[in-house]
Symmetry: C2
């Protein structure tokens, strides 16, 4: 792409560094900003800078927070004996939306992925092991996505904490509510048969 302006080119190149944003989309977005009042670009830039500068991570669960200990960890009505291990803040938001989970979270900040250069030391695993060691935690729930990286990470953590006698569990995999059996993949369907539950349990909470 040849640009008639270096300023425009630089803005487009920076915008195109975002994941999933190509040069053409970046140009469309940048031209949109040019058509809007100058204040919108200023607000946008300052929001990004302020966030990158001032954002904190909860020292208990490593979730993104504006204070040292996040709202969830600071809430006295949450059950501190159950810890749900998730990848990032989006999973915390999704689980909080269900309104069912009343324990605490532990945000790893990613999954073990040698291909992307992410090893266990870059994730918040040691602090989880320390939590379990302290004896405060009775159950650890694994809620990573069921990819190869997710499974590897689960297993790595499991090996480190099992000696401390903590209960470990994984969220149920199966056919989503409302989905048709015929469109389900065979691995999911097979597992949902293997891990079937008593019918009485399946109609609870409905």
């Amino acid at each position: 792409m040849e640009f008639s302006s270096k300023l425009l080119e630089r803005a487009v190149n920076e915008m195109a560094q975002l994941p999933g944003i190509g040069k053409r989309t970046a140009l469309r977005l940048v031209l949109h900003l040019l058509k809007q009042p100058k204040e919108q670009t200023e607000l946008f830039a300052s929001a990004l800078l302020k966030m990158r500068e001032e954002i904190k991570f909860c020292r208990e669960c490593h979730n993104i927070s504006d204070v040292d200990v996040c709202e969830i960890c600071a809430n006295p009505s949450r059950d501190t004996s159950v810890v749900c291990v998730v990848e990032d803040i989006r999973d915390v938001m999704a689980l909080e939306n269900t309104g069912i989970f009343k324990g605490l979270y532990h945000v790893l900040g990613g999954k073990i992925s040698p291909i992307d250069g992410v090893g266990p030391s870059q994730l918040n695993i040691n602090s989880l092991v320390d939590k379990v060691k302290s004896g405060r935690v009775k159950e650890v729930i694994f809620a990573l996505s069921s990819t190869m990286e997710g499974d590897t990470t689960n297993f790595y953590i499991y090996k480190q904490i099992k000696e401390y006698g903590v209960t470990t569990s994984a969220i149920a995999r199966g056919i989503a509510i409302g989905d048709e059996l015929e469109y389900a993949d065979e691995v999911t369907l097979g597992r949902s048969l293997l891990h079937r539950i008593p019918f009485e349990n399946s109609i609870k909470n409905m």
Copy 2:
């Protein structure tokens, strides 16, 4: 969406103001920036601010430029008697990529679209009429997209400039090179029949 951090929420909301970027995508992009070195966000924000602050529009053709008169208008080898009317800088880039057009451009900055509140006065139409009035221009080529808004804009300009005896033309519409006839829409195919050209002409420039 409930956020655990106001800083994060503000950044996501600003990002989601961009066209085609929803809240979920915005969150993904913002979390990406958080994982990258701080410098990337700083470069990104400063590129946007600097562009919005300092960008100029060529005073001849209204294209985006870093100087008062853009490279194309300042190029003495371009034919100043032919002016191609386009909507925005992306069209200029696309036409320049062909390497065929050697005239000048006139960037309208949009199309007449009452539904979006865009009237003729918000577009760079008067300066085009002035150019034609001055007698310097021999031909005006309309290259707006062939939507209702594009056709309306073309016709509005045509009515304003025809009295000055300038030649007006529109880019050819027809089946794209390499496309199959059977998949073409009937309007395009019909027009390509009506506006057929001598075979000898069709094999020129091949």
